[in-house]
């Protein structure tokens, strides 16, 4: 009886999907020949496909429901990736494979592919930066792109007016963005949850509007072009060389960021961030300075956005306000949420998937964004905790001080 019920529900859902996708999948209007083709077979495919997917999903949900929910750290963390990362030998092997792949990538693939990958790596770093703010400290920041813009325009303007080089500006851009983070954070971090989200969203828009309208300062919507590419020990590189160089630069950046974020997250400060995300009042009662700790998270995130802004300006050699719309903030946030809040591996995967997928879905032409949206929605339904759920580190401790001295 239950099976019959399930089947009936499956059929209804399939019909509903056919109805929803009817205008796109079935009707095809040719405006030049002025004909309408009705592709009824598509409706059938849609129905059968939906039905099969629905049945499979139900089947897996049922099966998972039967097994006990994870109660301890070990069970919760038994995903493939964590098993890989837990074993030192396998981890070393994984790192070697990744390193070889990362080094060989621009040699084996075209400049175009390398460029796309460089962009994806930039979003990895941006995601990891925002992950400090949203994933660890639990501050919903919808204006992250503002700090990215600060970094980019720092380099663009200083290069344009004073001819300063990439490497000089890199730290300046990061620090300036961090300063903006502190300036904004001071008044704003008293707000909670939704209010904070709204104010940061507004801040992001303000920065963009200023850049768009303050012509004398930022050249308005037409932007700043001919920004110098990053140089390699003073050498200027040709276009291909520069693309490859940017790629390796980003690989190093990613490694550096992972290193730093990993250390931060497993430190006294990182624990304080996570605790703040869990319960602010308990945190304060345990002696954590709420405002200071939040401000540090906020400005560290901004710092990374600023660095990436400088890299972005150097990579594209052109910046204008259109690159810093709310959509950017939303994508970076989606990377963090999709990957798994607070999980480094998750954010990396999230960035690679979200940035590379639209590129490789180009084959689907006009359905690209549709497919992109569908995948996001499915993710949030079936794995709301993100691709990789964050598991807390377990610590190695000495049982007693005597043991500690003995060993």
């Amino acid at each position: 009886m239950a099976v019959f019920q399930e089947l009936k529900k499956g059929v209804l859902i399939s019909l509903w999907f056919v109805f929803l996708t009817f205008p796109v999948m079935v009707i095809k209007v040719d405006p030049i020949a002025r004909t309408v083709t009705w592709r009824w077979m598509n409706a059938l495919y849609m129905a059968v496909g939906t039905f099969i997917i629905y049945t499979l999903v139900q089947f897996f949900i049922k099966r998972r429901g039967r097994s006990k929910p994870a109660s301890t750290q070990k069970e919760a963390g038994s995903s493939v990736i964590h098993r890989l990362l837990d074993n030192p030998r396998r981890r070393a092997m994984l790192f070697v494979v990744l390193a070889v792949a990362a080094i060989a990538f621009p040699q084996l693939l075209s400049s175009y592919q390398t460029n796309v990958m460089t962009t994806a790596l930039m979003y990895v770093v941006l995601g990891l930066g925002l992950n400090i703010v949203v994933g660890l400290a639990g501050l919903l920041d919808l204006g992250f792109v503002a700090f990215y813009a600060v970094g980019a325009y720092t380099y663009a303007l200083l290069n344009h007016h004073f001819g300063l080089g990439f490497w000089t500006i890199l730290p300046v851009g990061g620090l300036l963005a961090a300063c903006f983070g502190i300036l904004l954070g001071f008044p704003v971090l008293r707000l909670r949850g939704d209010y904070l989200a709204i104010v940061t969203l507004g801040f992001g828009e303000i920065i963009r509007l200023v850049l768009e309208n303050w012509g004398e300062f930022s050249k308005g919507p037409s932007g700043i072009s001919n920004i110098a590419r990053p140089s390699l020990f003073g050498m200027e590189l040709d276009l291909h060389g520069s693309i490859v160089f940017n790629y390796y630069l980003m690989v190093l950046f990613v490694i550096f960021t992972i290193f730093v974020v990993n250390r931060l997250q497993n430190s006294r400060l990182g624990r304080a961030w996570i605790a703040l995300r869990e319960d602010e009042i308990a945190c304060q009662a345990m002696g954590i300075d709420k405002h200071r700790t939040k401000l540090v998270a906020f400005s560290l995130g901004a710092f990374w956005a600023g660095l990436m802004g400088v890299v972005f300006a150097g990579k594209t050699t052109f910046v204008n306000p259109a690159s810093f719309t709310f959509m950017e903030s939303a994508i970076i946030l989606a990377i963090v949420v999709l990957g798994g809040m607070g999980s480094i591996v998750g954010v990396i995967l999230g960035a690679l998937i979200l940035i590379l997928m639209p590129e490789y879905l180009r084959g689907l032409s006009q359905y690209r964004m549709l497919a992109f949206g569908a995948i996001l929605v499915c993710m949030m339904i079936f794995r709301p905790q993100g691709l990789i759920a964050n598991i807390r580190r377990t610590y190695v401790y000495k049982k007693t001080p005597n043991d500690a001295q003995a060993s």
Binding site: S71, T72, Q73, K74, A76, V260, R263, L264, S267, R268, L269, G270, R271, A272, I274, A275, E278, D279, I281, A282, C283, Q284, A285, M286, G287, I288, D289, K290, V296, L300, R392, T394, Y395, Y397, K398, K399, T400, P401, A404
Partner: protein, 263 residues
Amino acid sequence: MTSQPILEVSGLTMDFGGIRALNALDLDVASGEIVALIGPNGAGKTTFFNCITGIYTPTEGNVWLTPPGGKKVSLNGLKPNKVTERGLARTFQNIRLFSKMTVLENVMIGRHCRTKAFILGAILRDPRTRREEQDILETSYAMLEKVGLAEHCDEFAENLSYGAQRRLEIARALATEPLLLLLDEPAAGMNPQETIELEGLIKKISREGQAILLIEHDMKLVMSLSDRIFVMDYGRKIAQGTPREIRENPAVIKAYLGEEVDA
């Protein structure tokens, strides 16, 4: 009392709009003492804790803390984290653990205000930071052993039983090395067995010289643990004294009987 007072509260008053939740309350705790604060529901006991720990800003009144052999410091107007730094640590009536952190990490958070490492220390992991981290681990683990939760150290706090969660809150508060430990209804929701264990734990902590201020409804527990008892009703102190004096105090009997008649 021959020992010197640690906590002195005088004239503490707290208004919520038109409601006076605390009315000119005086209270003191001496070093090494267990003092109980009792009273019917809604008497203002939790509000009292919130006021002295800086979570609420009292309308009027003074709070002083005196470290042993040190100078008396005022806690008026300090933020909660500063109050904890000065030496008041508390547990919550409605448990407030960091539920998605492990049991050990919860206690490690308690070490926060006694340690220093910051951004650079975290990134560089210099010898000083590593030593500090090791100290955090060892102290926190020792706290867990003290409250009997050592074998659960890697579990998520939310997966602990109710009684264990209350003990974890005590461990977390103890990790801040408080001069005075404030417990808000630590036995609430515990079964008789757990309550007996809790009594043992509080006695053990007290024997180590820890001063404790305890809010509790379980009269048996209060009578057997406390050196002195303060009784509140409607935000006022209605009695104070040793357990025996309190048991025979007509005002207390009236407050409690009155409540039962109403119920």
